[in-house]
């Protein structure tokens, strides 16, 4: 009972603090503090409710236990991280986005291909591509190569569609100006159209970053060597070792956020001139 009361107090306290902070003028500190307080409050409530209602740790382990497992099993977690994120997701991401970018630049020269490929690409981007995973695992074997292949297929179309759209984002005036400067195709591409396409390209990269992790992890459900985050999650669920599962999830969340955040930072550095970036401090 005491734990439950504590949970309610924690909720009220966290909310009151955030309410106070949110109604003060926005600064960088409050913008950071408010979500952090919210997150910590959720964790405290989680801990308190698990103890208060005496939920079995097999069903929902408290955060403290997850943290202990995390600290104790860092070697396993690191091995899985390397296998899934570095080898599977990152390799596939670089290959898929690179290929999509090059092909987008290539088809940009042919309006015929553009008109044909854009609707098809848009259609394919909405399909449940993750279903390709069992086929690709069959083709490329159980190791990380097949995971990278799944990631390539998943990130390819969002990236392609975004890049093609971005390359069209210059208007006739700007292109005419380049022509009055006697700039050829390549010069126009490098100095005008690629920079103008950057916001779109980064949009594609961001969508791809979350898809890459999902693809690499889910592909491991269809067969993998005895390491990897997807493998660990599915086998640990079978053993009811849910604390290890949650630790893997924490790793995945951190990797995903870091991946996304890294691309967002890169975007800020590259497209500082764009209206969506200029307004912020």
């Amino acid at each position: 009972m005491g734990w439950l009361v504590f949970a309610i107090i924690a909720w009220a306290g966290g909310w009151w603090l955030n309410h106070l902070l949110a109604h003060r003028p926005k600064t960088r500190a409050t913008r950071l503090a408010v979500p952090v307080i919210f997150g910590v409050t959720i964790l405290v409530i989680w801990e308190a409710v698990v103890h208060g209602l005496e939920i079995s740790p097999i069903l929902l382990p408290p955060p403290s236990q997850i943290a202990v497992t995390f600290a104790a099993k860092t070697d396993i977690l690191w091995e899985d991280f390397v296998q899934t994120v570095i080898k599977g997701a990152l390799t596939g991401y670089v290959m898929g986005c690179g290929a999509a970018f090059l092909i987008a630049v290539a088809i940009d020269r042919f309006p015929f291909l553009q008109r044909g490929l854009l609707p098809v690409g848009n259609f394919v981007a909405a399909l449940p591509i993750i279903g390709m995973a069992p086929i690709l695992v069959m083709w490329f074997g159980f190791d990380w190569h097949s995971k990278a292949a799944v990631v390539v297929v998943m990130v390819f179309f969002p990236m392609l569609v975004n890049t093609v759209q971005g390359l069209q984002d210059t208007d006739a005036m700007q292109r005419d100006l380049m022509r009055t400067y006697a700039a050829g195709y390549w010069k126009t591409l490098l100095k005008l159209r690629l920079p103008a396409a950057m916001p779109f390209i980064f949009n594609g990269l961001k969508i791809g970053s979350t898809l890459a992790l999902i693809g690499a992890i889910v592909a491991e459900f269809f067969g993998s060597p005895i390491k990897g985050m997807g493998f660990r999650i599915s086998t640990s669920v079978g053993q009811l070792a849910l604390d290890l599962v949650w630790a893997e999830i924490a790793v995945a969340a951190m990797a995903g956020s870091a991946f996304y955040g890294g691309i967002a930072l890169l975007e800020k550095a590259t497209t500082f001139w764009h209206p969506s970036q200029r307004g912020r401090t």
Partner: protein
């Protein structure tokens, strides 16, 4: 209409590549068989063999087409349209989870968006977490959610729908926050000069002007919730649903079955997203927005 010819060209090119790839990928097995039988393969025999293997590495499009025909239309003609071997049955299982998850996700998404737009505290504390929640590969948690909910006694449709919900609420939140904030200060001031209550401002101004945003996010949410339902079916031990068909196919090397399940899933996605598109056109037309 101008783009029909290019689209058809691209699609038929894809089919040509598919057929060619089927020859290339299935050739080793065809040669292997021919060698053991002691016959020499000429090109025509090779092609016809690679396009008609039982468990090919890559089935040719017509093989997948025949498999789909046999497991849907023919089953219906036999009066076994809902038997467990029928793809219609599996599509229905997946569809029901998708639809429930999509409805729950849309409801949650709209509720969160209203909260975020009207409450400053919620805006600052919840919004970053909504974005962060999507960098967590939720699909990785799918097996755990299913197993845990099963242990508590909730099984069947709901666990899968929960995964679909988690995937589909995000685009709705983001789109609706944008949409509910889309009326400019001028329009909001106009409402104030009419001394409209907050509820009236919401129902007469904010909600109608958010509709175009809502439908765009619904399309993304629908595609996402189908993916969620399919992945949610993987760890349930391959009982029913398109995801289960994928898993069973990959266990037994039934590539044709995998491909037909995949094509069914793609068709389902296309139909559902297209349905929302139609709904969007009708609604926006009646509202005078399109």
């Amino acid at each position: 209409m101008r783009s029909i010819v290019p689209i058809l060209t691209v699609v038929s090119t894809l089919f040509v590549i598919w057929y060619a790839a089927a020859i290339g990928l299935n050739a080793p097995w065809a040669y292997n068989k021919a060698e053991r039988a002691g016959v020499e393969l000429n090109f025509a025999a090779l092609v016809s063999d690679t396009w008609s293997q039982d468990k090919p590495k890559l089935p040719a499009p017509h093989q997948v087409g025949i498999e789909i025909w046999e497991t849907t239309v023919e089953m219906v003609l036999d009066g076994r349209g809902f038997s467990k071997r029928s793809l219609i049955y599996h599509s229905w299982v997946t569809f029901s989870a998708t639809a429930l998850g999509f409805l729950l996700g849309t409801g949650l998404g709209i509720a969160l968006a209203i909260g975020i737009v009207y409450n400053r505290t919620m805006d600052m504390s919840v919004m970053p977490w909504v974005i962060a929640s999507q960098t967590i590969p939720i699909l990785a948690i799918a097996p755990m959610i299913i197993v845990v909910l099963n242990a508590v006694g909730i099984s069947g449709l709901l666990p899968k729908a929960m995964i679909s919900m988690y995937l589909s609420f995000f685009p709705v939140v983001v789109g609706m926050v944008k949409g509910l904030r889309s009326p400019g200060p001028m329009q909001l001031d106009q409402m104030r000069t009419w001394s409209a209550t907050p509820a009236q401002t919401f129902w007469r101004l904010r909600l109608p002007s958010s509709m175009p945003y809502l439908f765009t996010s619904l399309k993304i949410g629908m595609a996402a919730s189908l993916v969620g339902a399919i992945v949610g079916e993987l760890p349930t031990g391959a009982v029913a649903g398109l995801g289960a068909r994928l898993l069973a196919g990959s266990y037994y090397g039934q590539t044709i079955q995998i491909w037909s399940a995949l094509i069914m899933a793609a068709t389902l996605a296309a139909v559902l997203v297209g349905l929302i598109g139609v709904l969007q056109r009708i609604t926006l037309k009646r509202m005078g927005m399109a």
